[in-house]
């Protein structure tokens, strides 16, 4: 078959389709809500030679955009060096070792080679977030682990399926080391089924276009994606752009960690230098290199969503390995906070470095925390133990056209939050409110979105709470003269009416609670974009009418004078704004 540009477009869509079908199949049949509802999973196709990404599902979790390429290439290397048994048709490897191209231990990856006439054509791989992987804290989000062993079971690549059959011995070792193991089989089968669906669809594609044509197309698509990314990069003026973002603390030592980015854009390439960032930390806020890499990729993809997800798109993005920093964690550094929190700070650093030169595409900083809150205890209603997660959104940054969205999901995720009614049905808690986090939107010409504010009361006899959040020390930064969004706040209200504020503000583990105690969380708002005094007075009036802020704040922050009848006093507004300029 002739391989023209048109056939190429068709093949590109076909490869994408294989991955999208894998994503859908995984979510539809998974048992864990974290996969089925929150879509904390991803599927892709990788080259047989070195694991380069060929295509990845559009609705996969963004943070996995670079990690699976990394881990597949590690597996291929291990096989080549005889450190791992070579695959046969029907084998599927399982691996969650963070240092071999992962995120945290809960993200379990499957990798399956696709054999065509006895030769490996390509690899299919997927990642699913397991609800538990053992370790000291149910669910794995420790706020104060100081080595990876405390975080859970670490699996090197091993064949979980041999010639299509589940290895029951390996599986039983896994089950003996994790919580709520009896429901895992459903997820394992869903994860396997997604790969089988992918294999099936890929083989149809190979048959339709021919083995050689398809391989030729894959090579060309790689080049085309690279070309596309380069042409977008060219729109950025050459120069060195710097930014610094701050992680509240590592959860153990109460000192801020700095992500320092020096971004060097030259011609059609960007070099990301994080080498001046903080040293590796004691607590679990270290990021393995694969996650650091992936965070850069996903940030750039948020900026240029037109470029397809392909290994070629990553070529012009050079991330130098930030040796001896907390962004290049080595064994046995704990890493449970990297996938959900540090990754978002890294993306924020990329946004903040580029927002001034790409104001049309980049927003002020989004909330950038997953708001992880875990509660464990015994449910009096059922007599069973429970583990509850509340993941929450926050405000997005204002941008050149609009205010930021309120309660948007994390930068690195795409998940929905569970409804209050379902949380109360499943867990012994009562929500007292679930509302906009007042005054959290960073003021600006276009203001940030609002964070979330909720308070829940514990209904079980006793419970233990843990938090892994961020942006408690500083709010998400504004851009182009816009102000920062509101900070993250956690307050524990004990029955004796004492209010406990975690020492690390956004992180603490194993807080003991009794029936009637309350937890109050306010998540960050987005940063503002442009100067507040340039905000359209009509938009300010709309905010005031909608009770987002009052007349006084409209005057103080936005320099808009609104009278008691809720009319804009244009003359005075004009004067005040003019005086401000002078």
């Amino acid at each position: 078959m002739k391989l023209d540009n048109i056939t190429l477009s068709v093949i590109q869509a076909g490869l994408q389709q294989v991955c999208d079908e894998m994503d859908l199949s995984f979510s539809r049949s998974a048992f864990s809500p974290v996969i089925s509802e929150a879509n904390d999973r991803s599927n892709g196709i990788y080259s047989a030679y070195d694991g380069t990404l060929i295509s990845q599902g559009l609705n996969g979790l963004p943070v996995f955009v670079g990690t699976m390429q990394y881990s597949t290439s590690e597996i291929i290397k291990l096989i080549k060096n005889n450190l791992l048994e070579a695959p046969e048709d029907g084998d599927i490897y399982i691996v969650n070792d963070p240092y071999l191209g992962g995120t945290h231990l809960m993200d379990v990856r499957f990798a399956k080679p696709v054999f065509i006439k006895g030769k490996i054509h390509s690899w299919l791989s997927n990642t699913g977030h397991w609800p538990d992987i053992g370790g000291s804290v149910p669910g794995g989000f420790s706020a104060s682990a100081n080595s990876v062993e405390q975080e859970g079971l670490r699996l090197p690549p091993v064949k979980l399926f041999k010639k299509g059959k589940l290895d029951k011995e390996i599986y039983s070792i896994i089950c003996s080391n994790i919580r709520v193991a009896e429901q895992r089989i459903g997820d394992v089968k869903a994860q396997e089924a997604a790969l089988l669906v992918g294999e099936d669809r890929l083989c149809v594609l190979i048959k339709k276009f021919g083995y050689n044509t398809l391989n030729e197309a894959i090579k060309k698509l790689y080049k085309s994606a690279s070309k596309q990314m380069k042409s977008y990069i060219k729109t950025i003026p050459d120069g060195i752009y710097k930014s610094k973002t701050i992680v509240d603390s590592d959860g153990v030592v109460n000192e801020p960690l700095e992500i320092v980015l020096k971004l060097n854009k030259k011609n059609d390439q960007i070099v990301f230098d994080f080498s001046s960032s903080s040293k590796p930390c004691i607590g679990p806020m270290n990021s393995v290199f694969a996650t650091t890499l992936s965070s850069v990729y996903l940030a750039i993809r948020h900026i240029f969503p037109e470029v397809p997800i392909s290994g070629g798109a990553f070529v012009p993005l050079k991330v130098e390995r930030p040796l001896n920093t907390f962004l290049d964690a080595r064994y046995p550094r704990p890493v449970s906070g990297c996938a959900a929190e540090v990754s978002q700070r890294i993306a924020e650093a990329v946004f903040m470095a580029l927002v001034d030169v790409l104001p049309e595409r980049v927003t002020a900083a989004p909330a950038g925390t997953s708001g992880n809150f875990a509660l464990g205890g015994n449910d009096l209603r059922t007599g069973k133990d429970f583990v509850m997660y509340q993941l929450s959104g926050g405000g997005y940054g204002g941008n050149v056209n609009n205010d930021g969205i309120s309660n948007g999901c994390s930068t690195i995720g795409i998940s929905k939050a569970p409804p209050v009614e379902i949380m109360e049905q499943k867990f012994p808690v009562l929500y007292h409110h679930y509302s906009l986090h007042k005054n959290s939107a960073g003021p600006g010409k276009y203001r940030g979105g609002y964070g979330l504010d909720y308070e829940i009361e514990i209904l079980s006899k006793e419970a233990t709470a843990s938090f892994v959040m961020d942006h408690g020390l500083t709010g998400p930064p504004g851009a182009k003269g816009g102000l920062d969004g509101g900070k993250n706040k956690v307050r524990v209200k004990k029955q004796n009416s004492k209010i406990h504020i975690p020492e690390h503000l956004s992180k603490e583990q194993d807080i003991h609670l009794k029936k009637g105690d309350k937890i109050h969380v306010s998540t960050p708002g987005g940063g503002g974009f442009g100067k507040a005094c340039e905000r359209d007075p009509e938009l300010v009036l709309k905010d005031v009418l909608q009770e987002k802020y009052n007349i006084q704040q409209a005057r103080d922050i936005y320099l808009v004078i609104i009278d008691k009848k809720m009319n804009i006093d244009w003359k005075k507004t004009f004067e005040v704004r003019k005086n401000k300029k002078n």
């Binding site: 477009s9 049949s29 048992f31 596309q228 037109e306 969205i405 948007g408 509302s435």
Partner: protein, 683 residues
């Protein structure tokens, strides 16, 4: 098929679409039908409807029944031209409608926009609280309700919603508030959350109720206008209105549950497809309706359209009432083709829309679109444009294709045009495949039912892409929605969340709810003075394994099922869907559903096209040059209304008709069946 005894009964189906208002009407003492197409009058759709009746020259006095499909509520919603509506909710939770479910509009890109249906200053809180088990933790403070009502009336709210947490579990507080509201509210536009949708999930229930309330006055106003017009012109009988579930409901009842009419337009097309398929003995079909800016796809299994309670109309706008599950794909005739920075051809997502539309419409379009590609390749001709304009426009299209596409692709204009079709088909095929997989079906086991103006142009190529062997094009593809009105049943749907494990289930509760809903449905249908020949009830349970979040709908054959039967059915369905056996984990029943359907007299599809008088020798013999697979073919052109039954058409061929154009590709074979449907065996 039984002969229609009551040949004198005169029935009209009238559907208002985005561009045209279509009418199909049975004529007295005749096998003939009247077909009318007039422009839609957007501001007041009733004018277009009356115009269609005028053009039909049939006396409204003699019509026995009118069934009407309207986009009044859909348009109001999508354009956000809603009535001023206030919300009363549980203290602490008024922002639920603004916070949504913590998402963003697209996976990549941190920008986007979202406006809640009810603005914050019209969302009021009162003291009250019920817990998840239905226990009342805080009784309603009545004075607070009174004071909220006063505030709302002061700012001239027209409609009101009462939406309390966990009202699906115990509606006592909500009903109490409603009673107070009804006493003081000046009209009947009062919606309480649990009555419309008795399911957990406060955001989805709240938005559904808010949509209902804020389109209620608009719909009622419109229906009244239409009724007055009809009455003034002599019409004395009932008016039925299409619902999004594919059933109809009396105009007297329709505005109470106005949200149910949202998306009724696409639903009626699917209903017509299911009806047509039933007579042609084709059980499983994917329907495909390509419009100017988007394409609607739905699945029909065992002659039943897939219905869902979980449809999002757009980002953050769930309308969780039962609707025919029509999915919209962002590709239509107006989708614009471009070459991206990587040198590859892309089609969409931007569209030339209806105005200026594609270049070939001659209304000032400047971007190459799918329609223009079809036009260049000779697949259709724009009959509203005369020959001189035609040449001018062709020249213009050629030039635009040359500069915007061909140069970059290093291809001829014609190859570029064909590539657009190929890529658009590919994109639509992929989307159709995703729709069918998400419903657990393999598209290869379905037939493709194509309708609308442009659907039949792409259908055969699409089917090939999907490995679908047969394409099915009804006698009047451009009037399918109006036909849907004509053949739709009366229908009432009920659903209630119980969320209970099989272990703890008291089977009596299921029996009681089935019975209760069944009775309510029968009563509602009997209340409408429309002749039905048969009333059927359908029972189903939404189930899942404990711990799962997605649900599977399990049909239950009788209203008193045993626990054992339910468990067995669930396991059967689960295995069929996921190919996984999980026998040790117990099952949950999430929702109980009942649908009661009143069947009206059957409509004889043979009336759509008069096949009897057609003879092969009378066929007009025309040919035109049409471009397929890189070369021009001298292609036969047929006029649909002249093709006799069982006449064999060999591709390539084009079949033209008043309301559509059908492309039959080289190697395809096509023929006309007993009901006038054109069936393509894809080559």
């Amino acid at each position: 098929m039984k002969k229609n005894k009551d040949i004198n009964s005169q029935i009209a189906g009238v559907d208002v679409g985005g561009t045209f208002t279509d009418l199909i009407i049975t004529k007295p003492k005749s096998d003939e039908l009247g077909f009318i197409k007039v422009p839609t009058t957007t501001e007041n759709q009733a004018l277009g409807v009356m115009d269609s009746f005028n053009k039909s020259r049939i006396n409204l006095k003699e019509i026995d029944l009118i069934i009407h499909g309207t986009t009044t509520t859909t348009n109001a919603l999508l354009e956000r031209k809603l009535s001023k509506t206030g919300l009363i909710t549980t203290r602490g939770f008024r922002d639920i409608l603004e916070l949504g479910r913590r998402t963003r509009p697209q996976p990549y890109g941190m920008k986007g926009n979202f406006e809640p249906i009810i603005p914050r200053n019209l969302r009021f809180e009162v003291s009250e609280r019920t817990d998840a088990q239905g226990k009342i933790l805080k009784p309603l403070v009545e004075e607070e309700v009174l004071s909220v009502i006063k505030k709302m009336l002061k700012v001239q709210c027209e409609a009101i919603i009462i939406h309390f947490l966990h009202s699906y579990s115990n509606p006592k507080n909500e009903l109490k508030a409603k009673k107070i509201v009804l006493k003081h509210w000046p009209n009947h536009y009062v919606t309480s959350g649990h009555e419309l949708l008795s399911e957990n999930r406060e955001y989805e229930r709240g938005v559904t109720a808010s949509i209902n309330a804020s389109v209620q006055p608009i719909l009622e106003n419109y229906i009244k206008k239409l009724e007055t017009e009809l009455k003034m012109n002599g019409y004395k009988r009932d008016l039925l209105v299409m619902n999004g579930n594919g059933g109809t409901v009396s105009s007297k009842l329709v505005s109470k549950e106005a949200a149910k009419t949202v998306m009724s337009g696409p639903a009626s097309g699917v209903i017509a497809a299911a009806y047509t398929g039933k007579f042609a003995k084709i059980k499983n079909m994917i329907t495909y309706d390509m419009g100017g800016t988007s394409t609607d796809v739905a699945m029909i299994r065992n002659n039943q359209p897939a219905v869902s309670n979980e449809i999002d109309i757009e980002y953050g706008m769930p309308v969780h009432v039962p609707m025919v599950d029509v999915r919209t794909i962002g590709a239509g005739g107006g989708s614009i083709a471009s070459v991206n920075q990587g040198g590859l051809l892309e089609v969409g997502p931007s569209s030339a829309g209806a105005n200026p539309g594609p270049i070939c419409y001659g209304k000032g379009g400047e971007y190459p679109t799918i329609s223009d590609a079809n036009f260049l390749l000779g697949r259709f001709i724009n009959k509203t444009i005369n020959v001189i304009d035609d040449k001018k426009i062709k020249k213009k299209i050629n030039k635009i294709f040359e500069t915007k596409l061909s140069k970059q692709l290093n291809e001829t204009v014609l190859n570029s045009a064909e590539a657009i079709i190929k890529i658009a088909n590919n994109k639509m095929a992929n989307a159709i495949r995703m729709v069918s997989i998400s419903l657990g079906e393999d598209p290869r086991q379905f037939s493709l039912f194509a309708f609308g103006g442009a659907g039949p142009m792409h259908a055969s190529a699409l089917a090939k892409e999907l490995d679908i062997p047969k394409v099915f094009i009804p006698a009047r593809p451009g009037l399918t929605n109006a036909l849907g009105c004509l053949v739709a049943d009366l229908r009432q749907d009920f659903s209630k969340t119980i969320n209970i494990s099989m272990e703890n289930l008291k089977i009596k509760d299921v029996h009681n709810l089935f019975e209760y809903f069944n009775k309510s449905g029968l009563n509602l249908i009997k209340k409408q003075k429309v002749k039905t020949i048969k009333i059927d009830s359908f029972f189903s349970l939404d189930m899942q394994f404990v711990g799962q979040t997605h649900i599977l709908r399990i049909p239950i054959s009788n209203k008193k099922p045993s626990k054992k039967y339910i468990q067995k059915k669930f396991e059967e369905y689960y295995f069929k869907r996921f190919k996984v056996k999980l026998d040790r984990i117990s099952a949950n029943i999430v929702n109980i559903n009942v649908s009661v359907v009143g069947k009206r007299e059957a409509f004889d599809l043979k009336k759509l096209i008069n096949l009897k008088s057609l003879k092969t020798n009378n066929l007009t013999k025309n040919t035109r040059k049409v471009f397929f697979n890189g070369k021009w073919y001298n292609t036969k052109i047929y006029w649909r209304d002249e093709i006799p039954r069982n006449f064999k058409i060999l591709g390539p061929a084009i079949v033209e008709q008043m309301d559509s154009t059908i492309v039959i590709n080289p190697n395809d074979r096509a023929n006309i069946d007993n009901f006038g449907n054109l069936i393509i065996d894809v080559g």
